[in-house]
């Protein structure tokens, strides 16, 4: 089992999977922060200017973490941030479900007619949190920019 968690290809797959996913989900939000702010507001946890500030920052956080994971640089920090974001998103979804809100997730697209929240969304997020936790604990830097940088440093 230990081999699974340290296998070069498993770590690479997890990095690229989570990284690409984060980049993809950030695109729509970066393009239209006002629509993302509306999605955040639909959860009825925060409102007003705070939603707009979050809608301004969160997509870029997702994009930076995604790019860092794909490139293999600052992997542990990116996995930590991605995991933290996913935990917060999951708690928001649970709280909306408990309150009986039938709203759009606002995860991949800001179109309110698709991607309704549900218990399946929580299942998806739990898998993604597990991937983030795996990357956080992994110290494997094969096929990464980190490996290249360290190679350069030790070579010089």
């Amino acid at each position: 089992m230990r081999g699974f968690f340290t296998n070069d290809y498993n770590v690479l797959t997890a990095r690229v999977f989570l990284g690409v996913l984060l980049v993809v989900v950030s695109a729509d939000k970066i393009a239209d922060p006002a629509a993302f702010a509306q999605s955040i507001q639909d959860y009825r946890i925060i409102s007003g200017t705070a939603t707009m500030v979050l809608a301004t920052i969160l997509p870029w956080l997702e994009l930076l973490c995604g790019l860092a994971l794909i490139a293999g640089v600052l992997v542990q920090a990116s996995a930590l941030l991605s995991g933290a974001l996913l935990i917060v998103f999951t708690m928001a979804v649970i709280s909306a479900l408990v309150r009986g809100l039938d709203i759009s997730c606002g995860c991949f697209t800001q179109d309110p007619a698709v991607s309704r929240i549900g218990w399946l969304k929580i299942g998806e997020n739990v898998v993604l949190i597990a991937v983030a936790a795996f990357l956080y604990s992994s110290q494997n830097i094969r096929f990464s920019l980190d490996q290249y940088i360290r190679g350069q440093q030790s070579g010089s």
Partner: protein, 161 residues
Amino acid sequence: MTRSHRALREAMVIAACAVVLGFTSTAIRNKGVFAPATALSSVPQGKRPDTPTMIHLPEARNLFESGEGLFIDARHAFEFDRGHIRGAVSLPLNEFDKRAGFVDSLPRNKTLITYCDGVECNSSIGLASRLRDAGFPGVRIFFGGWNEWQAQNLPTAAGAP
């Protein structure tokens, strides 16, 4: 420095970069918090001093029964399809800019009354502010919204606008 301390410090650097990039990109594109005032008001600001008047169920009911009011549903279109105040028209807050023609076609001889789910939502307030800014004076906000209307078994309808 331990591995987790280093990760935490690097995470803070990434977060700081996200803040800088987020605000810079929205400032350059005039979006989000840097959007012109009219677009910014699409995010409801419930405590603005010039928020249109809020009304409660009895007044909303009077306007409905007298035919003097036109109810405008600020919720998403699919929620409107599922059920709405009878005679209401759908104008989701986030579609306001896209539907300028529809906004212009709204009657000016009626009292426009916006509503959303109920007291816990803000889109009716945002929509009322946008309508007021678009030149409709006397807009009202039915604060109890769809939940209160439905709970009182008042006339409803379902289906697309």
